[in-house]
Point group: C2
Chain length 215, copies 2
Amino acid sequence: MSIKVLIADDQPIVRTGLTMLLDAQPDIDVIGAAADGREAVRLALQLRPDVGLFDIRMPLMDGIEATRRLAGPDVTDPLPIVVITTFDLDEHVHGALKAGARGFLLKDAGPALLTQAIHAAADGDALIAPSVTVRLLAAFANAPTSSPRQPIEPLTAREEEVLLPVAQGRTNNEIASDLYITPSTVKAHIASLMRKLGARNRVEVAMWAHETGRI
Amino acid sequence: MSIKVLIADDQPIVRTGLTMLLDAQPDIDVIGAAADGREAVRLALQLRPDVGLFDIRMPLMDGIEATRRLAGPDVTDPLPIVVITTFDLDEHVHGALKAGARGFLLKDAGPALLTQAIHAAADGDALIAPSVTVRLLAAFANAPTSSPRQPIEPLTAREEEVLLPVAQGRTNNEIASDLYITPSTVKAHIASLMRKLGARNRVEVAMWAHETGRI
DNA sequence: CGTCCTCTCGTACTTTGGGCGGATACGCCG
DNA sequence: CGGCGTATCCGCCCAAAGTACGAGAGGACG
């Protein structure tokens, strides 16, 4: 059972190249090729491929919008789509991934990476070009790491317990009821939290909880 | 110029297997193998490999801690490290990537993916196993997309102006001074915000601002 | 056993926040 | 022009949050 692939790219040469490259694989079958985004969506619904391989820059409708229509958050039975582009602009990456893409490749990717991305998408997985991944990781690692301010002293277990409801906007009385303690005690814990975090009020405590990924 | 690789895994069989598999590649050279995390760090500093290929589960020091020491945020001249594990637990992924890993593979990965990950790491890029990537993407796509609640009514210009300082933990008096209005007016705007956003207090307003990416 | 820390609670006070009503000004429309 | 809606502004009043003490029960540890 080979994987049925639909290609979408406005350049005929790229379409031919991708088709030949993928058809050379024993278990990949290119069943269609679209020249713009609208045709891609139409063919996808008509031909029911297993995987879509879409360029971003296309006339009428770009690949990201096409991806959103075929794999977006509100689509039932989404089509796994690998987005491929010449320029690895961050906005493209961001847009494609939020549109529901299950892969992101650059056109300088070799045949091996391309076929692996197709296979991954067909298996319900996802593969992203290494040069793009490294930037995603930087964002991933920096965001939580770039919290210059850490608590001077470590938080106690109870303080952690109080931190969450505070960050969710619950009042002291509500928190007290939830934890079976008096509001006085809740205040004491929050005062302790504010001291340790250098916060001036509960909103700053809530922000800290958000920035450090505890919420 | 072949890529010098340092392997770290506590199981001798895995070490042998990885070594043979990688040495079979024309441009990859395994120059060392460690059986635990401490030895991995020591050998890395001594042998100066181009890429590290570390298992997570190891005695004395796990692969994530070793990665942190060799590629963490405060390390100068970090070593590109590919982390490899049998279990793709989310906490492992999270920990490894925050520790600065430039790759994350599962042990069921084929030789092609393995060598590509090594190459990517050596080139300053990063490659993540497709089955792991898909979960990262889910988090990536869901987080901003999962803002189901939008303001019933659009916010006025003044309300937007008040929203930001509120989400930064500033008090009504401070906001009033900044905007050259009285605290009463700030309260009125915030009351309007809370009504539109369905928030019960300013903390929920602040959370909304965060979740919708306005902060 | 004494010490340290956490968690708990109280009391009294000040500051901040939120609810309610009302005023002014501006633009839109018949 | 006169009415209408709304954004912006404000003051008053009470509730909630935060501050500043003090203090007892219990666990961990040397």
